[in-house]
Symmetry: C2
DNA sequence: TTCCATGGTTGACCCATGTCAACCAAAAAA
DNA sequence: TTTTTTGGTTGACATGGGTCAACCATGGAA
């Protein structure tokens, strides 16, 4: 909690109502009158430096977080050091839902770049959700969406081959950048090959080779973390038509 | 909805308060006074025959379900026919949370044996959760637990080798049977090798071979779906000490 | 500017798991 | 009962992706 910046009432007034991430974040779909009530919800903002944790496995759960700027990864570690990246999160997305079940976080959330989050104290969220129907509903949707997303990742990990996984990953990133007003075809990845590999259940060499093959086939242009999608349809076909494994 | 059995007020009065699955199900941890209010929540029960769907991908979402008897699998299908089993559910566990996000179910829920569920109309649940704090809290915990569980499966799929996955699966089943008052060491699996394989991201032959190897090593006794765990510690060690892959 | 550290690429080789096929066992159907 | 179907086991072989190693590129530090 060290880097938490408590914010004056003035600066956070209309925190959500004025935020340009409204459409992507927890308050999506709420009415204006409902939105006004959200001002009570954001108690503070917090800046996290690149590579620093927002929270760690085992730390007590007291808040969830909405990403204002930057991006994160979440991961789970095994005793023997193996790491499984369980997700990459971008602006407007919610972190910390894993903590509700046991009042302890069950994964690490690490900033991929210097980032800022809105701190949503969970007790306050529950309280407000009981009064504001739209907030309750949206919060449930956010949790459900996370479950659906996780099922998609299981599909990736359990049933797809290396190139399909990477193609699905790129299309997913593209779609999320698009939703944030960036180009669907051109973006900078914030994570390393190793982190992509961990997420996709592959070794970094395999990720690197798949990128190279995509480039050879004219599907994308890759320059380290810079990605340009040349043939998005080709990537989609790769996923659909590839033989079962 | 065809097989839904609307139940008379009398028969469902105290539906939850009297249910012996209380400790495993949604109402866990609620106070007695809170529990009394749950009677309004269970609108009907529904019987599902083995192999029949409780709901399907794409069907409109209107309720979640608590399993009273029997068990289910949930799966996601790709256009090309590939199946990913995303989970196996036992008594007291909640099905249908995937539907909240888009008001459409995003997976299939199939009965592994003749089963019965309590139908919890979602609109009613939200309504009641706004009034009954304990219900709200428990519901959030159930969703969060599902997210944490899914992360565990990602760990399995992304970072563990075949035998580790199966060992983790067996230990998980054992633990869940135990929680339901059955033997930790002896149980009947309700799913086929193919379904286990799909869940674990393996082919059924690989599952079968891993079972055989466990048996050779004296860790378990396997007779088709009947499992007897001889050396649970051995299974645990298998997961912890196996070299990274 | 040069140096160093980190991250990325590529090649050669290997092994865990997939594929294909035969056969067996149990349960369901006739 | 016998027959059929479905599910499970096992073997032989193939291959996708892992492992190990060398090298390259980039960006930050000095």
């Amino acid at each position: 909690m060290k880097a938490t910046v408590p914010i004056t009432a003035a600066s956070l007034k209309k925190a959500c109502a004025q935020c340009n991430l409204l459409e992507l974040c927890l308050p999506f779909g709420m009415t204006d009158t409902e939105l006004d009530r959200l001002d009570e919800l954001i108690s503070a903002r917090r800046k996290i430096k690149r590579q620093q944790p927002l929270y760690r496995t085992g730390s007590p759960f007291e808040a969830i977080y909405a990403i204002r700027t930057g991006s994160f990864k979440t991961d789970v570690l095994l005793e023997d050091g193996r790491e499984q990246v369980t997700g990459f999160q971008m602006t407007g997305e919610i972190l910390g839902l894993d903590g509700i079940s046991n009042e302890i976080h069950s994964c690490n959330a690490i900033a991929l770049e210097d980032s800022e989050v809105c701190v949503i104290v969970y007790a306050k969220l529950e309280e407000l959700a009981r009064e504001v129907e739209g907030l309750q509903h949206q919060f449930h949707k956010v949790m459900s969406r996370e479950i659906v997303r996780d099922h998609g990742v299981m599909m990736l990990l359990g049933s797809m081959r290396a190139e399909e996984r990477l193609a699905a990953f790129l299309l997913n990133m593209s779609q999320r950048f698009t939703a944030r007003g960036f180009s669907p075809a051109e973006f900078h990845l914030r994570m390393t090959r190793e982190e992509i590999g961990s997420y996709l259940g592959l070794k970094l060499e395999t990720v690197s080779r798949a990128f190279s093959r995509f480039q050879e086939e004219g599907l994308v242009i890759v320059q380290q973390k810079y990605i340009r999608i040349i043939n998005g349809e080709g990537l989609k076909k790769l996923i659909q038509h590839q033989a079962a494994r």
